[in-house]
Amino acid sequence: MKYQKTALTHQDTLLPLHNEEDTAVHRYGFKINNLGLTYPPHIAGEVIKVKHVCRIPNSPKCLHGVINVRGHIIPAFDLNTLFYNQQATGNLFMILDKGSAAVAICINDFPILLNHAQELEHENIQDSSLPIAIRQFIRTCFHTNEQRWIEPDFAAFFLSLKS
């Protein structure tokens, strides 16, 4: 075997992986009903199709159940029920983050790449048409040609659903 495998030390992995100036910030947007949501670029995201969701008895309606993602049992939320009282259909899930921090969100359509989203001023994004449950967690907001995309603090938002 001729190829070389470069061994890295722990210290190497603590170094910055790239120069931020070289990196274009691309976000992915997904919709809950007509509400466009994005997540920060540093969070791992993945879309999976799940055939079986394990329901949890006596849990809130917005907790769709739990799913097994490569051995990690993670909660799957139906935000359509929480925001609009309409049950999500379909078996597509957006997985945000990884390991024990991961959560799944039911989505009806595939996320899209937001290449040229412009950031809105924070003052512009307090809007009474937004679902109450997410209003206080909005961190920033982007807009493309015809759609506004809200980026909430998902960790704080999902933590609030626990209580």
Binding site: K2, T6, T23, I48, K49
Partner: protein, 129 residues
């Protein structure tokens, strides 16, 4: 477009060596990394012509690493081809959205690996300057 140097990224040493041996038999020069994080670190000082990358890896998975590579001006020209047992249509579509140029399902044949290189060469040739 000429492909000579290829980076193989897979946490499984048997897979890494298998792909490397297929490529070396085809007279390509191969480097290897065992995670997305290690691959990104290597790319700071090494520029391959093509990357074969697994998706399911500990720490940084292939989707995230591919997104980092294709979003970075210095590395965005390097085509990434996923080699994975994640073979659902959603995985392929999500892979394309992360910037991947191809998807090979495990288990694969030698020909599939070599064909992917030809396909990348053809795509690169057809792309406008």
């Amino acid at each position: 477009m000429m492909i000579k140097n290829i980076l193989v990224v897979d946490d499984n040493i048997a897979e890494r060596e298998n792909i490397a041996s297929i490529l070396e038999a085809g007279h390509y020069t191969v480097e290897a990394a065992n995670s997305g994080e290690e691959a990104l670190k290597m790319l700071e000082s090494y520029t391959p012509d093509l990357i074969f990358m697994d998706i399911v890896m500990p720490d940084m998975d292939g989707f995230y690493a591919c997104r980092e590579i294709t979003n970075n001006e210095k590395t965005s020209h390097i085509p990434v081809v996923f080699v994975s047992s994640k073979i659902d249509e959603v995985d392929k579509v999500w892979g394309v959205l992360q910037g991947a140029k191809g998807h090979i399902s495990k288990p694969y044949s030698d020909n599939e690996i070599l064909q992917a290189i030809s396909d990348i060469c053809i795509k690169k040739t057809e792309e406008p300057e």
